[in-house]
């Protein structure tokens, strides 16, 4: 394993890497602007947005927040342990982080199933157009994150692994980005109107 010290205080080396942070900023701005548009249309169609919001299951949203936060907590510990050269323990925390992601997807699937069963689709109203697009894009990010986590975890366990601290940090940064996006989506979609 690469044990070179990374100078995080350099503007070029934020934890996770400069490219990952550029992606994180672009994603936050994209989702953020969509949320601003969501609130703007929500004011224009206050009754529709309130009635639609009341149809969402707040308990599902809050539980999914807890799943992602728990997963992020395990991920942060996995990075910490990897830096300490505790690769086996780090791998266990990687798997726990992935479990949080799978639980999130499972509960999201149940939520989507209920919505589809009730006949709620993308063109039901403006609220649900935003709901499906925003949560759908977020789910795609979570699936991609799980693939990256699985791949990195597989790579770091191999004999003569060339997985570096930078690789693990970049992978963790992507996973935490899914957390960050959800932390903005959950209150705005599930609680705001």
């Amino acid at each position: 394993m690469d044990t070179l010290k990374i100078n995080y205080k350099s503007i070029y080396y934020p934890p996770g890497g400069i490219l990952m942070w550029i992606i994180i900023f672009l994603e936050l701005i994209t989702f953020g602007m969509a949320l601003v548009a969501f609130v703007y249309y929500g004011i224009e169609n206050a009754t529709v947005f309130h009635e639609s919001r009341m149809q969402l299951n707040t308990a599902f949203g809050a539980t999914n927040t807890i799943f992602l936060l728990t997963s992020g907590f395990f991920m942060a510990n996995a990075v910490h342990l990897f830096k300490e050269n505790e690769v086996k323990k780090s791998s266990v925390f990687f798997k726990l982080a992935m479990l949080g992601g799978f639980l999130f997807l499972a509960l999201k699937s149940v939520e989507y199933y209920h919505k589809i069963e009730s006949g709620i689709s993308l063109d039901t109203n403006m609220f649900y157009t935003f709901y499906w697009l925003l949560t759908g894009f977020h789910v795609i990010h979570v699936i991609m994150g799980l693939v990256i986590l699985g791949w990195t975890n597989y790579g770091m366990k191999k004999k003569n692994s060339d997985t570096t601290v930078e690789d693990v940090e970049a992978c963790a940064a992507f996973w935490h980005m899914c957390d960050l996006i959800w932390l903005l989506l959950f209150p705005t979609l599930y609680l705001f109107f």
């Binding site: 205080k9 936050l28 953020g32 601003v36 609130v39 707040t58 809050a62 960050l180 932390l183 705005t188």
Partner: protein
């Protein structure tokens, strides 16, 4: 496990549960909406600075993230 991470995680859980309880207890009003967004912003910063270790990064990254988040929250609260 690092104690600081456990502490931050506990705080995140408390804020999440508190936010949900506030919304379930009171109807969303002009007062509650900003509270919800500010609590979300606090969680966001805890994850970014503690879990993503942004606290170790150059000030440019810290300030940029705070400004981006601040603008978003102000826009959302302002429109609401």
């Amino acid at each position: 496990m690092k104690n600081s991470l456990i502490l931050v995680f506990t705080l995140l859980l408390i804020i999440t549960i508190t936010t949900t309880c506030i919304v379930n207890s009171f109807s969303v009003s002009a007062f509650i909406a900003p509270v919800i967004m500010v609590l979300a912003a606090v969680k966001f910063l805890l994850v970014a600075f503690q879990f993503m270790e942004l606290k170790k990064a150059h000030s440019f990254w810290k300030i940029s993230l705070i400004i981006t988040l601040g603008l978003l929250v102000i826009l959302i609260i302002g429109i609401k």
